[in-house]
């Protein structure tokens, strides 16, 4: 899995590419923890993610919690990932674009 970081003013965008599972989730967790102090708004772009497990969901929920509802955006969910969010009901809570 790879993570591309893009900063636009106070907005940080993390583009995740690959599988977001138990093994790779900590990487995203680190990237989020590093990024949060330097930004007001956090975007996680999921266009390159076609698989997500509970470990990945936990990281995203954690980020959502830390940054605060309005300033956290989850972008471009692929079909499979979208299905998981629908299944858990988190899709309704998260700010998804």
């Amino acid at each position: 899995m790879t993570i591309n970081k893009k900063t636009d003013g106070t907005t940080l965008c993390l583009e995740v590419v690959g599988q977001l599972d138990t093994l790779t989730a900590p990487e995203l967790e680190n990237a989020v923890e590093e990024g949060i102090p330097n930004c007001e708004k956090l975007i996680i772009d999921m266009a390159g993610v076609d698989y997500i497990s509970s470990a990945g969901i936990r990281v995203i929920l954690q980020a959502h919690h830390t940054v605060g509802g309005e300033n956290f955006v989850l972008r471009s969910l692929t079909g499979n990932v979208q299905e998981i969010f629908r299944m858990t009901g988190f899709g309704k809570v998260l700010n998804i674009e």
């Binding site: 093994l23 698989y51 299944m87 858990t88 009901g89």
Partner: protein, 660 residues
């Protein structure tokens, strides 16, 4: 109202009657007018003659008592319908006339009475006066139109006179008598009479016309109308029993009625014949339908699937019953035998032969014979009792799922195709069609199949399907269609070929049975066991294993990965309480069903119990259970047991496959 022939006839007769009337009246008028005129002339002439005889009593040169003569003339005028009657003495030299005596009748004008009197001289001398003086006493008539209207005047010489001196008659013409008669008076009476003739003619014409109309109506129109009414209601009356038309007399109408009665009788018998034929045909059709159902019942179902193969087949008979057959069966040892055959000819005889053939193939195959042996025995059996010398082309093959080899033998049938990586015609040498010559040995060939391969068997109804223009479908089109469907399911291949054939043939009549069969080698299941140390890194091995299962879709793989990850990570995290331990993951992948089994020797834990209620999930507290929730949401079934110190968890996921 429609214009009946009756009205038409009457309308045609009417002007003829009018014309006849006009001719009759015209000629009657002319004849009677002329007759009247003649009688007028005769009357006026005889009047003038009488007057001349009377006037002979006087001497024109010495008339003493003109009054007596005038009176006599007046009487004659009244008696003979004269306007006036006069005796004149013409003077040929002076060209005048002198009135000697004059009498007036009815119709004489007052002016004439004043200007004409005895002794008056008028300077008019007509030619008739001169002729009369010369002695013309017949036909000396003058027609005149004067103030008295149309008149005729007769001039009569007075050929003698009475000499008062000698008291004898002297024969010398000294004077002329003129009698005038007004034609208008006479003709008026004639016209009155003629009016009666006219009325009589018109009335009689009307009566004649009416009688003719009545006769036509009674003799023709009414009977014709009656006949036509009967004819019109012939069909509806037939149900209640058709009453024959009455035949009266021997005219054309009765002839027509008689003909109609004959026709009705004949139609009746025809209809009865036809309905009997119809009944027979219905019975025959019903019997053929039953035969067709029985024949189709001889064939195995159009679709079959077991663990190894999927068979799809179709037979479209050209007539109600056909001579094609297909057969397949799973033999006792698990091998699959498929066959296709085509009897020469069509219809009931071909169907009967086909019934025999399919039974033989099925029986010989179930004994366990090889394809060539099946054909050998089958040929011998058929040839032994085949008085009609019918023959049947046959292809038989047996697929062995163990070796994935397909052994086949061809008895004169179209070469089947194998849809593998490319299109291959199974055109190895075979033998002749079965049924004629006993003892024929058949060659056998073997081809190796792999998962997803499709065998396509067909009869010549496919490649010899004709278009409306008489072109054949041919093998080239068939091969194109098959090549385009390499990798497709058997059902899709059949549908594609049959649609292409139907598209080619359009509305052309199907001349031969069309039979096709496709056997697909199904992707086989997978059984794999992974013995792993319960460490998260080993997830990669699990992921790799799942990602490499060929028969699964990406979506299916994602689902399996998710379930496997969550359950394996659970074991890694909790089963051995921080120590290392082993975990075993078993994969059982069938065509449309995946079963994952997780076995560990850690502390007993039933993950299927107390599954997270997702509403209670709290991201901040990092409460566990999200993974288990997802797993059991995705799974179609799961079970947990604890046996021999081991936690055993089974999870089942079902998939829809591409073959459906």
């Amino acid at each position: 109202m429609k214009r009946s022939i009756f009205i038409k006839i009457i309308l045609m007769i009417f002007p003829i009657v009018i014309l006849a009337d006009l001719i009759i009246l015209g000629s009657a008028y002319k004849i009677t007018y002329d007759a009247n005129y003649e009688s007028c002339i005769r009357n006026v002439e005889s009047a003038s003659r009488i007057a001349a005889d009377y006037f002979a009593m006087f001497d024109p040169d010495h008339i003493e008592d003109t009054a007596q003569c005038n009176e006599e003339f007046d009487k004659l005028c009244a008696m003979m319908d004269l306007t006036y009657l006069c005796a004149v003495k013409p003077d040929l030299e002076e060209k005048n006339i002198r009135y000697l005596s004059i009498g007036f009748g009815e119709g004489a004008s007052e002016k004439a009475k004043k200007t004409r009197y005895p002794g008056v001289v008028i300077d008019v001398l007509h030619e008739e006066h001169i002729l009369a003086m010369q002695g013309k006493d017949e036909g000396n008539i003058r027609k005149e139109s004067n103030q008295f209207g149309d008149t005729i005047i007769s001039y009569m010489p007075v050929t003698r006179y009475y000499d008062l001196d000698d008291l004898t008659f002297v024969y010398e013409t000294k004077s002329v008598v003129a009698a005038e008669m007004s034609l208008s008076v006479v003709m008026d009476s004639f016209r009155t009479r003629f009016r009666y003739i006219l009325i009589f003619t018109v009335v009689s014409s009307v009566i004649i016309l009416g009688s003719v109309a009545l006769i036509i109506y009674c003799m023709v129109t009414r009977p014709v109308r009656k006949i036509s009414k009967r004819m019109a209601s012939f069909v509806s009356d037939r149900k209640t029993g058709f009453k024959k038309l009455e035949v009266k007399g021997d005219d054309e109408l009765s002839e027509m009625s008689r003909s109609f009665n004959t026709m009705a009788d004949e139609i009746d018998s025809y209809i009865e014949n036809i309905s009997e034929l119809n009944k027979e045909r219905h019975t025959q059709e019903a019997e053929l339908n039953i035969a067709r159902r029985i024949q189709i019942g001889l064939l195995p179902p159009a679709e079959f699937r077991d663990r190894h193969v999927c068979v799809n087949a179709s037979m479209l008979p050209a007539k109600d019953v056909g001579g094609d057959l297909y057969d397949y069966q799973v033999l006792a040892d698990g091998r699959v035998c498929v066959a296709i055959a085509d009897v020469s000819g069509k219809g009931v005889s071909a169907a009967l032969f086909m019934a025999r053939a399919i039974t033989l193939i099925h029986q010989y195959a179930s004994i366990g014979y090889s394809p060539s042996r099946i054909l050998y025995e089958y040929n011998n059996s058929l040839a032994a009792n085949n008085p009609n010398r019918m023959f049947i082309t046959t292809f038989v093959g047996i697929y062995d799922p163990e070796t994935r080899e397909f052994t086949y033998s061809n008895g004169g049938h179209n070469c089947p195709y194998l849809l593998s990586d490319r299109l291959i015609a199974l055109d190895s040498e075979g033998g002749m069609a079965a049924g004629i010559f006993a003892g024929e040995e058949y060659e056998e060939a073997v081809v190796s199949l792999k998962e997803g391969d499709v065998l396509f068997l067909y009869t010549d109804g496919v490649n010899e399907a004709e278009s409306a223009d008489g072109d054949f479908f041919g093998t080239q089109r068939l091969e194109e269609e098959l090549s385009a469907h390499i990798g497709a399911s058997g059902a899709d291949v059949l549908t594609a070929v049959l649609e292409r054939v139907a598209d080619f043939a359009q509305d052309a009549v199907q001349s031969d049975d069309i039979t096709v069969l496709a056997m697909r080698v199904l992707p086989q299941g997978m059984h794999k066991e992974l013995e792993l140390t319960a460490q998260a890194e080993n997830l990669r091995t699990i992921f790799d294993t799942i990602r490499n299962i060929p028969s699964l879709s990406e979506e299916g793989k994602d689902s399996l990965c998710l379930m496997a990850e969550e359950m394996f990570v659970n074991i890694c995290s909790y089963a051995y309480e921080g120590k290392t331990g082993d975990a075993k993951v078993i994969f059982d992948i069938a065509d449309n069903n995946a079963e994952l089994t997780f076995i560990d020797s850690g502390i007993p834990f039933d993950p299927t119990k107390d599954v997270l209620n997702i509403e209670d999930y709290d991201a901040e507290k990092r409460v566990g259970g999200l993974g288990r929730f997802l797993t059991f949401e995705v799974a179609d079934a799961y079970s947990y047991t604890h046996q021999n110190g081991q936690n055993i968890l089974k999870i089942v996921k079902k998939f829809s496959t591409g073959d459906e």
